[in-house]
């Protein structure tokens, strides 16, 4: 209370002094009073000036800080990675005619900055109205996390983006991204391959171009948003489309579990088309998972069965120990080491070499292999590239398998296509060498001229052997198991193969792997067409053998693609060109 009384005291004094203050100066009664006042006034003024100056300095500091903040780049506030990596370009993939197989399109991806999220529950609820398939719990946890950046959904459509923008949720944003788009969908899926969410090629030619240095370029940011030179493939999209169509229909009609085909230029090694079903949509690789990812043409190995007899007979002819006019006794089965080798279409007589081929005699081919001998057999198959991994651009290539030690029984079974598993693609490549004059050309998925091919080629069989093989293939086409592959005007020659599949370590007689190796036009072969069909339950005319399902697929492919491939039909009696006038 003493304080209050003191205030009252001061108050009364104030009355006195204030009054005095108002009246006294003019009277000039108190000179010393005036003097102290002047002195204190000038001191107060100089001190005021100091105060004013210090305030000025503080305001300058604040202004400087504001300018500093104004100069700061707002992007540095949030710890988001540089956009460049998301905008990294990939080159377009084109077919040989310039049609687009793969290209980049711009999309946006949705992210959140969790520390800016006001109400995670509300944000999840509202996002779900646009993206109903969002995992609410996962998104909620992301929004509640202590990180500063979270992807919520990659690669949205423009419609989704505008709808999310309209929600007006704070703390989320969009980043532009490049997305790989495959206009053909599954058409050339196994050749083109696909990319992962970060635009890195993880399969097919996409992976190949990454392995060629694109990935390194992207890593140092050289590919950001730049237009890259497109990569042209050897594929002809028209042919590819037909091939896939035919094998897809074949797999369905013949109730098979898989099918595949390749169209290969015998002079350049270019793959014009190659398809394997089941396949997948590279735009959405996760769908049709696993069973569709397998490229059976290059990444699956199979016992080729009778198709392999082509190579056995070529080996015999090339070794000089066998001629087309030779005959072999196929009247009795061969018994060796507890196995009995018999013929499927048993004629039980002596067969000439063309007859062995025509009737697909196991006994006959076994005897030819026996004549050449085990080392010669093994060497010949190695020369044709059937025992080593196929060199090509596709990353998905499986190495063939062969017995660790070749005994007589192995040589005999391998002579008719059991005991060695090869990929269908490499079988087609070896087949090409038998009909193109003897040159083995590594296959390619990139355009290649004949000169380039000749530089890479190695001569594996004699010209005469190749000529004989063309004759045999043609003969088999006309008179043998390949009849259903014939296309009027296009002289198709080929060899079927119906192999029993190994199921649980034993050959199952009710499950076959059927293949047809064909060349056309056989008088001057330009293309190899190889089809296979895995475990068909039926075929044309009801049979399950290669002649009634793999061969018709070849027919369908050739009849539909030969005009596109620039092969002229010859409708003459003797297979020569026919003059037609309308």
């Amino acid at each position: 209370m003493s304080f209050l009384s003191r205030i009252m005291l001061l108050k009364s004094k104030a009355h006195f002094s204030a009054g005095g203050n108002n009246r006294a100066p003019e009277t000039g009664l108190n000179v010393t009073f005036q003097g102290t006042r002047k002195k204190s006034a000038s001191q107060a003024k100089s001190r005021l000036a100091i105060l004013i100056a210090s305030f000025g300095i503080v305001y300058v500091v604040i202004g400087g800080r504001l300018v500093q903040y104004g100069m700061a780049n707002p992007e540095t506030v949030s710890s988001i990675g540089r956009a460049d990596s998301l905008m990294a370009s990939r080159p377009d993939l084109l077919d040989r005619n310039g049609e687009i197989l793969a290209t980049d399109i711009r999309t946006v991806s949705l992210y959140a900055e969790p520390h800016k999220i006001v109400d995670a529950d509300e944000a999840v609820e509202r996002l779900a109205t646009v993206l109903p398939d969002l995992n609410a719990r996962e998104i909620y946890n992301k929004l509640k996390s202590s990180s500063r950046f979270q992807w919520l959904r990659r690669q949205l459509t423009p419609k989704q983006q505008s709808e999310i923008l309209a929600l007006g949720i704070p703390g989320i944003g969009f980043r532009p991204e490049k997305r790989r788009f495959y206009p053909g969908g599954p058409t050339a899926a196994h050749i083109v391959g696909h990319v992962n969410i970060d635009n890195r090629g993880i399969a097919g030619m996409e992976r190949y171009i990454d392995n060629q240095g694109l990935a390194d370029l992207a890593a140092i940011g050289m590919t950001s948003d730049a237009k890259l030179e497109p990569v042209r493939l050897s594929i002809d999209l028209r042919v590819q489309n037909i091939v896939r169509d035919v094998i897809a229909a074949g797999m369905k009609n013949y109730e098979a579990i898989a099918a595949g085909a390749v169209v290969l230029n015998v002079h350049t090694g270019e793959v014009l088309a190659m398809a394997s079903v089941p396949d997948y949509d590279p735009n959405n690789p996760a769908e049709g998972a696993e069973e569709g990812w397998m490229n059976r043409m290059s990444n699956g190995t199979f016992e080729m069965g009778s198709t392999f007899k082509t190579f056995t007979i070529a080996m015999g002819l090339d070794s000089g120990k066998v001629t087309l006019n030779d005959s072999f006794d196929a009247s009795a089965p061969i018994r060796i080491g507890g196995f009995t080798i018999k013929d499927f279409h048993g004629k039980r007589r002596v067969l000439t070499v063309p007859e062995i081929f025509q009737y697909s005699s196991n006994i006959g081919t076994a005897k030819i292999a026996d004549l050449v001998g085990i080392p010669g057999h093994r060497e010949f198959l190695t020369r044709l590239g059937l025992l080593t991994k196929l060199p090509t651009e596709l990353p998905e290539v499986k190495a063939p398998t062969q017995p660790r030690e070749w005994k007589k029984i192995n040589s005999i079974t391998i002579s008719f296509g059991h005991g060695v598993s090869t990929t269908p693609l490499q079988t087609a490549v070896a087949g090409a060498a038998l009909v193109n004059g003897g040159k083995l050309i590594p296959p390619t998925f990139l355009p290649r001229t004949e000169e380039e091919a000749n530089n890479l080629a190695s001569v594996v069989v004699k010209k005469s052997t190749s000529d004989s093989m063309r004759y045999l293939l043609r003969w088999n086409g006309i008179a043998g198991s390949g009849k259903r592959a014939l296309v009027p005007g296009f002289n198709v020659g080929g060899k079927t193969g119906t192999a029993d599949k190994v199921v649980n370590g034993r050959y199952a007689h009710d499950q076959n792997f059927n293949a047809f190796l064909a060349a056309f036009p056989i008088d001057d072969p330009q293309y190899i067409v190889l089809t296979f069909i895995d475990a068909p339950k039926t075929g044309e005319g009801g049979g399950r053998t290669a002649g009634s399902n793999a061969a018709p697929m070849v027919r369908d492919i050739i009849s539909r693609t030969a005009p596109l491939l620039g092969v002229e039909p010859k409708f003459g009696e003797d297979g020569s060109a026919l003059l037609v006038s309308y």
Partner: protein, 384 residues
């Protein structure tokens, strides 16, 4: 009504009021109300209230605040002094009461509820304290035998003790700085200045060692470690706003700044209206301070000089502390931005300060030394 020839109280007021000061205060209140739309809805929503709850309350307080300011500006210097003494007595009394019957908010006893209205007596204490101290200093300058300086030191001791008891360190620092500034102006000997500066530094270290939350804040400010969420988000808001701002209602960071409508309204202003706008706000405050100080410079009457300078110092330093915290130039300290931040008690109290300034700067021809003006007034001097 405002005729120059027949001067009634209103006409008198109209012709003698410092219109630039008046306009500046009203402008700041307008800016504050506008920013209330940007800054307060997120807080209201967080508290589960109607989005515009605080905007409405802000509007509700504008009229009484304005009335208080205008009403006080009618007072003569002598009436100002009397009003200040009464107000100081009342607010000091309430500050004592607060310690016993106050509402505890975030660990401090600062608020007292009278007739359903929450009042922070220390806010009203500030202008009254400044005016009373100005009077004591002036009396001492005029008649050295009056122990004005000693009394003002005693008064400051009482006020400081009451503030620390709450505890309210921010107000203590503010009051001490304003008081120190006035004492400095009143001719504090340099020896005293050194002693007081040493005391201030000692007090600072004492606070640092005795009060753990103060130590924590200062450590965070110096090291940038620990929970710097408030200042981090404030900086993010300002930088995100860039020069021109994101536009009204486009603020995102403002939603997560705590106390966006009071202590961090400056950051919200930056995010939505831009750094240039913030510079304008700073310039308005700078204008206020400079104009007030230059008025004091020209003023012949010691009491008016000390009081005007002290009052603008109070507004100026409070705004500097607030802006400094927003710009991470000072350790985090709860301090409202005068006339702009939301807060009923603080707004009315600041309007008391503004009213005092207006009252003391009214044109009184017999007391102004026009010939030695540091900053020439922009307003035409009325004919005499």
């Amino acid at each position: 009504m405002v005729s120059r020839a027949e001067r009634g109280p209103v006409a008198d007021w109209f012709w003698t009021i410092d219109r630039l000061f008046l306009a500046t205060f009203i402008l700041l209140m307008g800016v504050g109300f506008m920013l209330s739309f940007a800054a307060s809805p997120p807080v209201a929503e967080r508290l589960g209230l109607d989005s515009f709850h605080f905007v409405k309350r802000h509007a509700l307080f504008l009229l009484p605040s304005l009335s208080v300011m205008i009403g006080i500006s009618f007072l003569s210097p002598r009436q100002v002094r009397r009003a200040a003494i009464i107000l100081l007595g009342a607010s000091l009394g309430m500050m004592v009461l607060v310690l016993f019957i106050g509402q505890e908010v975030k660990g401090s006893m600062r608020w007292i509820s009278i007739a359903g209205i929450s009042i922070q007596p220390s806010e009203f204490m500030k202008p009254a304290f400044v005016v009373v101290c100005a009077w004591l200093f002036a009396e001492h300058a005029k008649q050295p035998e009056i122990p004005g300086n000693l009394l003002s030191i005693l008064l400051f001791g009482i006020v400081g003790a009451l503030l620390i008891a709450q505890p309210d360190l921010g107000q203590t620092v503010l009051t001490a700085t304003v008081w120190g500034g006035m004492f400095f102006m009143a001719g504090m000997p340099w020896l005293w200045i050194i002693v007081l500066a040493a005391l201030a530094i000692g007090g600072f270290f004492a606070a640092y060692t005795v009060l753990p939350h103060v130590a924590g804040r200062i450590d965070r400010f110096l090291t940038g470690e620990g929970d710097t969420f408030q200042v981090d988000t404030a900086r993010e808001a300002i930088i995100r706003g860039d020069w021109l701002g994101r536009g009204p209602g486009e603020g995102v960071v403002k939603r997560i700044i705590p106390d966006s409508h009071t202590d961090f309204v400056f950051s919200v202003a930056a995010e939505e209206f831009g750094i240039l706008f913030c510079m304008v706000i700073v310039m308005i405050f700078a204008f206020l301070v400079m104009r007030g100080l230059s008025h004091a410079f020209r003023e012949r009457n010691d009491f008016n000089r000390f009081a005007v300078a002290g009052l603008v110092l109070q507004i100026g330093i409070q705004s500097l502390i607030n802006i400094g915290v927003n710009l991470e130039l000072l350790p985090a300290k709860g301090m409202t931005l005068p006339l702009i931040s939301y807060g009923g008690s603080s707004m009315v109290a600041i309007c008391v300060t503004a009213g005092f300034i207006l009252a003391l700067t009214r044109h009184r021809p017999e007391k102004r030394a026009v010939e030695r003006s540091l900053f020439r007034s922009g307003v035409g001097v009325p004919a005499e």
